[in-house]
């Protein structure tokens, strides 16, 4: 299998891993978002959805491990590509003309990704750990209350909003970029993919951001 590892470690292979894991994460975000939007229907629905997921815990654990691996590969390859790509130009230009020939989202993937990573760690700590291991939340199935209390903090809510907007920037480039990497750039459907990517990234960012905004302002933090 030496040929396979050599292929995956070639410049195109590394991008293939990025694109494949990126698409998996995009699909994960869709499911995660649908799940979260049940918050708007009130405590009963949200608590029962999370309780339902708790009922199939062994399966959820397997999915969580797969998801963690996907994240790890995406981050590992992303950082590796960034580092190697930097080394491909040891002396930089004095006048940087990149704003004239490319968009900012495509040039800042490592930074938007890194902010998403920091968010991810904090997000897991505040919500995932609480949902799984806080006795009152977990045993009492008081998940909705945990969300309410998390978003009572304006700092956390603001950070959440900023982070998902930045995630939107990452996706704005990432969505179509993954298709280009797969080689699916064809004049018949690529313009559609580009538009879909913009719609997807905007909707994802807005929908995720609406949750802390709702809890902080309209729910009055109660």
């Amino acid at each position: 299998m030496g040929w396979l590892s050599r292929a995956l470690n070639s410049s195109i292979g590394k991008k293939f891993v990025m694109a494949l894991t990126g698409i998996c994460l995009i699909l994960f975000l869709v499911i995660h978002l649908i799940n979260n939007l049940t918050l708007f229907a009130g405590p009963e629905l949200f608590n029962s959805v999370v309780k339902g997921l708790d009922g199939i815990k062994p399966l959820i654990r397997v999915i969580e491990v797969i998801l963690a691996l996907i994240f790890i590969f995406h981050i590992y390859e992303g950082v590796r590509l960034w580092w190697e790509n930097k080394k491909a130009r040891p002396v930089n230009y004095t006048v940087n003309g990149s704003s004239k020939n490319s968009d900012i989202f495509s040039r800042t993937m490592i930074w938007t990704g890194s902010i998403v990573f920091i968010f991810l760690v904090i997000h897991l700590r505040t919500l995932w750990v609480t949902f799984n291991f806080d006795p009152t939340v977990h045993e009492g199935h008081r998940y909705y209350d945990a969300v309410v209390s998390a978003f009572q903090s304006p700092v956390y809510s603001l950070f959440y909003v900023v982070a998902v907007v930045i995630l939107g920037f990452h996706l704005n480039h990432g969505f179509q970029s993954a298709f280009q990497t797969f080689g699916w750039n064809h004049k018949k459907y690529f313009p559609f993919i580009q538009k879909l990517g913009m719609i997807y990234s905007t909707l994802t960012a807005l929908a995720f951001a609406s949750i802390p905004i709702y809890f902080l302002f309209f729910f009055g933090g109660k």
């Binding site: 030496g2 040929w3 396979l4 050599r6 292929a7 070639s10 410049s11 195109i12 590394k14 991008k15 293939f16 590509l81 190697e84 790509n85 080394k87 491909a88 130009r89 040891p90 002396v91 930089n92 230009y93 004095t94 006048v95 940087n96 003309g97 990149s98 004239k100 020939n101 490319s102 968009d103 495509s106 040039r107 993937m109 480039h173 179509q176 970029s177 280009q180 990497t181 797969f182 080689g183 699916w184 750039n185 064809h186 004049k187």
Partner: protein, 256 residues
């Protein structure tokens, strides 16, 4: 030539040798708007030489945008601010009186600097040697339509083949990636019947060589397509990726 000249301040990268430190030298010039960018550099060099000073080293050959020899980074953009032209086709009328223009060499690990504005782009030749050719004997000129190629495919292959190998794609890419160049070369063969025999070996060998030579990977910023003097499309990069995946699935090469 009674046209009004424009006054420019040029900051040009001067570097005596690969190892020595370089810096910008300033030149003030009043130049005709009809002059090309390279003619302006010629004027500066004439002046320098008349004063027994070392002229600015830069490359050019055809001066009509077909050979790919010229290539300067002008205010941060390879081949300057205009689209789909080479440096030799850029005219001074595109600049305003009083402008300051920075001129730098192409910068990439795979393009070591030789002197001033000249870099060694032979890494691109190494990639071509790895697979950018057809080694089956195609014989003498075949009868017209003996090998049928649909017009749209032929046009696409011609578009890819219009790459002049200037390296501006590498120079413009934040990763100094040669993907646009290599994909154009892979595509021009992959699209045509004569290229089929070595199709998969070719893409594997060229990508391998490209990686070995220290070019970066593609981040799909598409800066290359914007700066390419021939407007080579990034669709070629998508095609090369497809060719590469297919090669990995189908070719017999376990060694590459």
């Amino acid at each position: 030539m009674n046209e009004k000249k424009i006054n420019l301040t040029l900051k040009i990268w001067r570097q005596v040798s690969p190892k020595s430190p370089g810096n910008f030298s300033e030149y003030k010039i009043a130049v005709s708007p009809d002059s090309s960018f390279l003619e302006m550099l010629d004027e500066i060099n004439n002046d320098l030489e008349s004063r027994s000073l070392e002229p600015i080293a830069f490359e050019s050959d055809c001066r009509e945008g077909i050979c790919g020899t010229c290539g300067l980074v002008i205010n941060g953009e390879p081949h300057g601010p205009l689209r789909k032209i080479a440096t030799c086709q850029l005219h001074m009328r595109n600049f305003k009186d009083g402008d300051t223009i920075y001129v730098e060499p192409f910068r990439a690990k795979a393009f070591p600097l030789v002197k001033d504005l000249i870099v060694d782009r032979s890494a691109m030749d190494r990639i071509m040697e790895a697979g950018g050719f057809i080694s089956v004997n195609t014989g003498s000129i075949p009868d017209a339509n003996a090998i049928q190629v649909p017009k749209d495919i032929a046009s696409e292959a011609m578009d890819a083949a219009s790459c002049i190998g200037c390296g501006a794609c590498v120079a413009s890419c934040k990763n100094a990636s040669a993907m646009l160049f290599v994909s154009a070369k892979v595509s021009q063969f992959a699209l045509l019947p004569q290229g089929q025999t070595e199709r998969y070996n070719r893409v594997e060998a060229m990508v391998k060589k490209m990686d070995e030579l220290g070019f970066g990977a593609c981040s799909n910023t598409y800066a290359c397509e914007a700066e390419c003097p021939k407007g080579i499309s990034v669709k070629n990069i998508a095609r090369m990726n497809r060719e590469y995946f297919m090669a990995k699935v189908k070719s017999d090469n376990v060694e590459v």
